[in-house]
Subunit: 148 residues, 2 copies
């Protein structure tokens, strides 16, 4: 496998690993009646409701104008609602609805099950080492989305 440039190129290995593993889960999302951007937003809100639109964009790795439109669609679909910020009226806070929570709950369980499958070949310390290496890469190379 390793006689091509890309097979030893970190950026390719990261992209490919992310792509392949995510593709598996995205197939499962269909059974939950969720599209990928919907899943990302709802999963984010489900452990921190009422985030700003820009925060959501940064956490879900989307551009801000894209998130505006994703939220537009999700609001129409009844999955989230916008509320104007209390102190800072420029802010738009996004809240998950009962319907949104209903739809994301099963997907969250499935996500955990899928992750366990993906990591099933690793022992516990290996799992943590993999995640730690990724977290280190992120810490060194990313802008922090929680500050956005």
């Amino acid at each position: 496998m390793a006689d091509r440039f890309v097979d030893d190129y970190l950026l390719y290995l990261l992209a490919r690993a992310s792509n392949d593993v995510s593709a598996q889960f995205h197939a499962r999302l269909k059974h939950h009646g969720l599209q990928v951007p919907e899943w990302r937003v709802l999963a984010t809100l489900s452990d921190g409701d009422g985030r700003r639109l820009g925060e959501l964009a940064a956490i879900t790795l989307q551009h801000q104008p894209t998130m505006t439109k994703i939220v537009d669609r999700m609001e129409k679909a009844g999955l989230v609602v916008r509320r104007q910020g209390a102190e800072d009226r420029r802010e738009v806070r996004i809240h998950i609805t009962a319907e949104g929570r209903r739809r994301v709950d099963a997907a969250l369980e499935d996500a955990k099950a899928h992750e366990a499958e993906v990591l099933s070949g690793y022992d516990a310390p290996e799992k943590e080492r993999l995640k730690d290496m990724l977290r280190t890469l992120i810490a060194r190379n990313g802008e922090r989305p929680d500050r956005a």
Copy 2:
């Protein structure tokens, strides 16, 4: 950083690490006058010219109809040329042009330099462990693009 679901979720860590590290390099690509899909195609061809269009799509993690359009644009830009397959006339073989090679060469050097920077905090065995873990994930979870 780890009090959110996503911060311990493998698929998110992979997506975020890939996204952040790639974003750094994509900024550099502009200096080489290359767009991201162009870079991916040219980098692939530069270590294996004359691949089929479908192969290119699989290696660069794009869908086939998308690759048709990318190659359309790159052919117009003079970076690649299409040639009909010799034995199998359904095939379309993509070849890099002199201009394409000229443009990608500096970017390839830059890619190696950038990768070295990203991995500069790791010692040699750590670097290999990270790449090996990613290769293992790919082997277990992906369809092999080289068979496409």
